[in-house]
C-alpha cells in the first residue's frame, strides 16, 4: 500500500503544471546563469594569468595574485568582490587584497549593488519555492476533497500515509534538483576552457547533497503546514510568509544585530594602537631613518646601518600587522556572530556549505591571507641574506607562493553543524507533521 501511495504521489506531482513550470524555470536559470558566469570567470582567470606572467619577481616588493575559483561559476560567493592582488615588502604587509587598479576591491563599487545569480541562487530561491508549491496541499487538499478519508479507509495507518507522501514528494524534489544540477554541470563540462576533475566533481556532488537537505527541510516544512491548516490557500500563504522571513528578513536582521554586538574599531583607534605598540622602538627607528637619509645624501654605504633599517622596518611592519590582524579577526568574529544568529535559517546554512565547497567564502580568503603572511616571513628571511651573505642571497630564490586549500572532506568536517541542523529541521518538521496528522480530524 505504501508503495502505491508513493507511486501515485510521484505521478501526480510530475504531471502537475506547478512541477513543470518550477522545473522549467530552474533548468533555464541554472543553465543560463552558469553560462554567463563561465564568461566572467574566464575573463578573471585570463587577468590572473596575465598578471602572473607580467609581474612576477620584479623589484624589491613581491606581488601575489589570488586565483579565481572555478566553482565560482556555480556559487559566486565573495570570489568576485574580493581583490585579486596584494603587494608585500619589508615595510608593508596588508590584511586585504586590492584590485589590479589599486582599489580596495576588484569589483568596482558602481557595480557592487548587483548581486549574483548562480546555481546556489536557483536552489535557494527558485527550487525552494517550487518545493513549497509541491508540498503545501499534499494533506489539506486531500482533506478538503475527501480523498484522505477514502485512502485511510484502506489498511493504511496515518503514519504510513504521511511517510508515503514524504517519500513520493522527496523523490520528485530530488529529481528536480538533480536535473537542475546536471544542466549546470553539463554547461560547465561542455565548455572547452573548463576542465572538471575528480575533486571538482566531488565538490559538486557534495553541493548536491547539502541542496538536497535544504530542499528536504522545505518539503517537510510544507508537509507540516499542510497538516496544520485545513485550507490549502491558507497553508500556501503561511508558507510564503515563512519563506520570505527565512530567505530575506532573518539574514538581514542577523547582520544588523551582529553589528551591534561586536563594535569594529575605526581608523583612528587602529592608528592609535599601532602607534602605542611601536612606541618602545620609535626613537631607535627615527634615529636610524635620519642616519640613513644622511648616508644616502652623502653617497656613503654603511651595511650595518642598512641592516638595522631593514630589521626595524620589518619589525614595525610585523607589529602593525599584529594590530591589523586583530582587527581582521574582529571582522571574522562579527561575521560569525551574524551567521550564528541566523543559524536556524536554512538559507544561511546552505550558503555557508556551498560557498565553503566552492572556495568562494571568507574562510578561503583568510587561508589565502595566512599564506601571504607565511610568504612574507620567507621573503624576510631571504631579504636578510642581503646584509649577511650577499652571495647566498643572489643564489637563493623566493619559494613559490602557496596556501592551504581545503579538501572536500575538510569542508564537510568543518561544517557539521550546518548538515546536522538542516537534517534536524527536516526531522523536527516531519515529527511535528506526524503528531498533528495523527490527531487531525479528517471529517
Amino acid at each position: 500500500m505504501l508503495t502505491a501511495i508513493i507511486k501515485r504521489d510521484i505521478l501526480e506531482y510530475m504531471m502537475s503544471s506547478k512541477f513543470l513550470i518550477g522545473l522549467g524555470l530552474s533548468v533555464v536559470l541554472a543553465g543560463m546563469s552558469t553560462f554567463i558566469n563561465i564568461g566572467d570567470y574566464l575573463q578573471r582567470q585570463q587577468d590572473y594569468l596575465d598578471a602572473i606572467n607580467d609581474f612576477e619577481n620584479r623589484g624589491i616588493s613581491v606581488q601575489i595574485f589570488r586565483e579565481p575559483q572555478v566553482l565560482s561559476t556555480l556559487v559566486q560567493g565573495k570570489d568576485r568582490v574580493l581583490g585579486n592582488r596584494i603587494e608585500i615588502d619589508y615595510w608593508n604587509l596588508p590584511i586585504q587584497t586590492s584590485g589590479y587598479m589599486g582599489h580596495t576591491s576588484q569589483h568596482h563599487r558602481y557595480l557592487s549593488g548587483f548581486i549574483s545569480v548562480d546555481f546556489a541562487f536557483v536552489v535557494r530561491i527558485v527550487l525552494s519555492l517550487m518545493v513549497i508549491f509541491l508540498g503545501y496541499n499534499s494533506i489539506c487538499e486531500e482533506t478538503v476533497q475527501g480523498t484522505l478519508r477514502l485512502t485511510l479507509a484502506n489498511s493504511l495507518s496515518r503514519g504510513q500515509l504521511l511517510l508515503g507522501k514524504f517519500i513520493g514528494g522527496l523523490f520528485v524534489v530530488l529529481g528536480s534538483l538533480t536535473i537542475a544540477t546536471l544542466v549546470a554541470v553539463l554547461v560547465l563540462v561542455l565548455h572547452p576552457a573548463i576542465s572538471v576533475n575528480w575533486d571538482l566533481a566531488l565538490r559538486i556532488l557534495t553541493m548536491w547533497g547539502i541542496s538536497a537537505l535544504y530542499l528536504g527541510a522545505f518539503f517537510t516544512l510544507s508537509l507540516m503546514i499542510s497538516t496544520i491548516f485545513n485550507r490549502p490557500s491558507v497553508a500556501l500563504l503561511v508558507l510564503l510568509q515563512i519563506w520570505i522571513v527565512i530567505i530575506v528578513v532573518y539574514p538581514n536582521v542577523s547582520v544588523i544585530l551582529s553589528q551591534h554586538v561586536v563594535k569594529i574599531p575605526g581608523w583612528e583607534e587602529l592608528n592609535d594602537r599601532k602607534r602605542a605598540i611601536f612606541e618602545p622602538y620609535k626613537r631607535q627607528y627615527d634615529e636610524n631613518q635620519k642616519a640613513f637619509i644622511k648616508m644616502a645624501r652623502f653617497g656613503q654605504y654603511d651595511m650595518e646601518l642598512r641592516k638595522k633599517r631593514f630589521e626595524l622596518s620589518a619589525h614595525r611592519t610585523e607589529l602593525h600587522y599584529r594590530i591589523d590582524n586583530e582587527y581582521s579577526q574582529e571582522l571574522t568574529r562579527q561575521m560569525h556572530i551574524a551567521q550564528n544568529i541566523a543559524i536556524c535559517s536554512p538559507s544561511i546554512l546552505l550558503n555557508g556549505v556551498m560557498q565553503r565547497l566552492a572556495g568562494t567564502d571568507i574562510r578561503e580568503f583568510d587561508s589565502f591571507m595566512e599564506g601571504v603572511k607565511r610568504h612574507w616571513l620567507k621573503y624576510l628571511e631571504r631579504q636578510s641574506l642581503q646584509y649577511t651573505d650577499y652571495k647566498a642571497y643572489k643564489e637563493s630564490e623566493l619559494p613559490e607562493f602557496t596556501y592551504v586549500k581545503q579538501s572536500v572532506a575538510e569542508c564537510i568536517a568543518q561544517t557539521p553543524h550546518h548538515w546536522i541542523i538542516l537534517f534536524l529541521l527536516s526531522v523536527i518538521f516531519f515529527v511535528m507533521a506526524h503528531m498533528v496528522f495523527i490527531k487531525k480530524d479528517i471529517g
Binding site: Y48, D50, L111, F114, L129, N137, L236, N252, L331, M335
Partner: protein, 466 residues
C-alpha cells in the same frame, strides 16, 4: 461597484494573510526607522567633523569636500554603503573618493532595509497574493457567474477588484510608513523637516503606481488561467524574474555588452603610460642636457617640472577614463535592468529621495564647479598650479659632473592668511529636478501599467465564467 469594493476589502481585512502582513510590515518598518536613525547619526558625526576640519585647516594642497547626509536614505538607500562620504579635491580638478570608513568586507551581502526594499519584496508579493484568486478563485467557487448575473459589467468587476486590492495593500503600507517616520522623528527629530513631506508623499504615490502593476498582472493571469494554484505559480515565477533575476543578472550581462578593457588590462596600460608619457619626456630633457642645450639648474628643474606635469596629466586622464568606463558599464547594467518594473521603481525612488548614483553625480558636478574657484584661489595665493596623480616620480640628472635630484612637483601649501578660503556649498536638491530625473522610470512604470491593464481588461472580457 462600490459594494463589491467594500465586500472585497472586508474579506481581505479579515484574512490571516492580512494580519501576518500587518505584523511583518510594522516590524520591518520599525527596523527601517531604527537603522536609518543609526546610519544618519553616524553620517552626520562624520560630516560635521569633516566640515569642521576644513574650516579649521584650509589647505592649498588638497581640500576635502563632504556630501551632506540625506535623511531620505530611509526611503531608498541607493547603495550608500558603496558611496564615499565625499571627495578629496586636489589642484587641477583631481577628485578622489574619500575613504568610506572601516567596513566589514567579510560580512555576507544583505540588501539595505529601506522602504523601497520592503515594498519591492514584501508588498509586491502581497499584491500578487491578493490578486491571484481575484477572478480564477471566484470562477472555481462559482461566485463570478452570480456576480456577473447582476447589472454589473466585467470591466467594473475588474476595476472593483483592482481598487479593493490597492486599498487593502495601502493600509499596512501607510501604517508602516507612519511607524517608520515616528521612530525617526522620536529619536532624531532634527532629521525630518516639512520640506521632506512632498517627497514622502510622492514616494507613497509611486509605490501605489508600482504595486498597481502587480495587481494588474495578478488579475490578468487570474482571468486567463482557470486554476488558482497555476495562476499563483505563474505569478510567482514572474515575481522571481522581476524582483531577483532581471535586476541582478544585468550587472554581469553589462560586462558582456560594454567594450571596456578588463581591470588588469587597464592596470597594465599604466606602466606603458608612465614609460611613454613621463619617462620619455624626462629622457628628452636629459638628452637636451647632454647636448648642452640646458646648463642652468633652474632651467633644468623648470623643464623637468613641465615634463612631469604633462606626464601626470596623461596618467590622470587614464584613471579618469577607467572610472568613466566603469560608470558607463554600471549605466548599461541599470538600463538593462529597466526591463523589470522593480528596477524602474528602485531608480525612481532613488531619484525622489535624492540618493544613489545620480545624487553622487550631482555632487561631483558641484565639486567640478568648485574646483575652478579653488584653482583660482591657489593661483592667487601660491602663484602656480601643480597637478598630481596617484604616482610620484623621482630621478637624477647629471649636469657638468654634478648630480641634480629631480622629482615630480607637489602642490605647495600657502602659509599666509587663508581667512578668505572659498567655501564649498553643495547645491540643494530641487524636487522638480528630481522628478525630471525620475521621468524615464515613471514613463516605464506607466507603460507597464498600461500594457497590463489592457491585457487584464481584454482577458476578463474574453473569460469564460462558467
Amino acid at each position: 461597484m462600490i459594494t463589491i469594493i467594500k465586500r472585497e476589502i472586508l474579506e481581505h481585512l479579515q484574512s490571516l494573510q492580512f494580519l501576518i502582513l500587518i505584523i511583518l510590515s510594522i516590524l520591518l518598518f520599525v527596523m527601517n526607522g531604527w537603522i536609518s536613525v543609526r546610519k544618519h547619526r553616524e553620517q552626520m558625526t562624520r560630516y560635521s567633523d569633516g566640515v569642521k576640519g576644513i574650516a579649521q585647516n584650509p589647505s592649498t594642497v588638497q581640500a576635502s569636500l563632504y556630501m551632506h547626509p540625506n535623511p531620505l536614505v530611509l526611503l531608498a538607500d541607493g547603495g550608500s554603503k558603496y558611496q564615499p562620504p565625499g571627495y578629496s579635491l586636489a589642484p587641477k580638478g583631481k577628485l578622489t573618493p574619500l575613504p568610506a570608513g572601516l567596513k566589514n568586507f567579510k560580512m555576507p551581502f544583505v540588501p539595505e532595509l529601506d522602504w523601497a526594499f520592503i515594498i519591492i519584496v514584501i508588498f509586491s508579493l502581497y499584491a500578487l497574493l491578493l490578486a491571484f484568486r481575484g477572478i480564477s478563485g471566484e470562477k472555481e467557487v462559482g461566485t463570478l457567474r452570480l456576480v456577473l448575473s447582476n447589472s454589473l459589467r466585467r470591466n467594473q468587476v475588474l476595476l472593483a477588484k483592482y481598487f479593493s486590492i490597492l486599498l487593502t495593500v495601502g493600509i499596512p503600507l501607510i501604517l508602516g510608513g507612519l511607524v517608520s517616520l515616528s521612530v525617526v522623528s522620536i529619536f532624531l527629530p532634527e532629521a525630518l523637516s516639512l520640506m521632506l513631506v512632498p517627497r514622502i508623499g510622492l514616494m507613497l504615490l509611486l509605490t501605489f503606481f508600482y504595486l498597481s502593476i502587480f495587481v494588474f498582472l495578478g488579475l490578468f493571469v487570474s482571468s486567463l488561467v482557470t486554476r488558482s494554484s497555476v495562476v499563483l505559480l505563474i505569478l510567482l515565477a514572474a515575481w522571481i524574474l522581476f524582483v531577483f533575476v532581471v535586476p541582478n543578472l544585468s550587472g554581469i550581462l553589462s560586462d558582456k555588452l560594454t567594450d571596456v578593457p578588463s581591470e588588469y588590462q587597464s592596470a597594465k596600460q599604466v606602466s606603458s603610460i608612465l614609460k611613454e608619457q613621463v619617462w620619455a619626456r624626462i629622457d628628452k630633457v636629459r638628452e637636451r642636457v647632454k647636448r648642452g642645450e640646458l646648463t642652468m639648474e633652474e632651467v633644468i628643474r623648470r623643464e623637468t617640472d613641465r615634463a612631469y606635469e604633462e606626464g601626470q596629466e596623461e596618467v590622470r586622464k587614464h584613471y579618469a577614463g577607467y572610472e568613466n568606463a566603469m560608470k558607463h558599464r554600471a549605466n548599461v547594467a541599470r538600463n538593462l535592468s529597466r526591463i523589470s518594473p522593480t528596477a524602474l521603481f528602485q531608480f525612481a525612488s532613488e531619484s525622489l529621495a535624492d540618493t544613489g548614483p545620480r545624487r553622487e553625480e550631482r555632487f561631483l558636478k558641484d565639486a567640478r564647479v568648485y574646483s575652478s574657484v579653488y584653482d583660482n584661489y591657489i593661483l592667487e595665493k601660491v602663484g602656480r598650479l601643480v597637478g598630481t596623480s596617484d604616482w610620484s616620480f623621482g630621478a637624477s640628472i647629471t649636469v657638468n659632473g654634478k648630480s641634480i635630484d629631480i622629482s615630480s612637483p607637489h602642490p605647495q601649501e600657502y602659509e599666509g592668511d587663508k581667512s578668505d578660503f572659498p567655501h564649498f556649498a553643495e547645491s540643494s536638491p530641487n524636487l522638480a529636478y528630481n522628478m525630471q530625473q525620475a521621468a524615464l522610470d515613471l514613463a516605464g512604470l506607466a507603460i507597464w501599467n498600461l500594457i497590463l491593464s489592457i491585457l487584464a481588461f481584454a482577458a476578463i472580457a474574453r473569460c469564460d465564467v462558467r
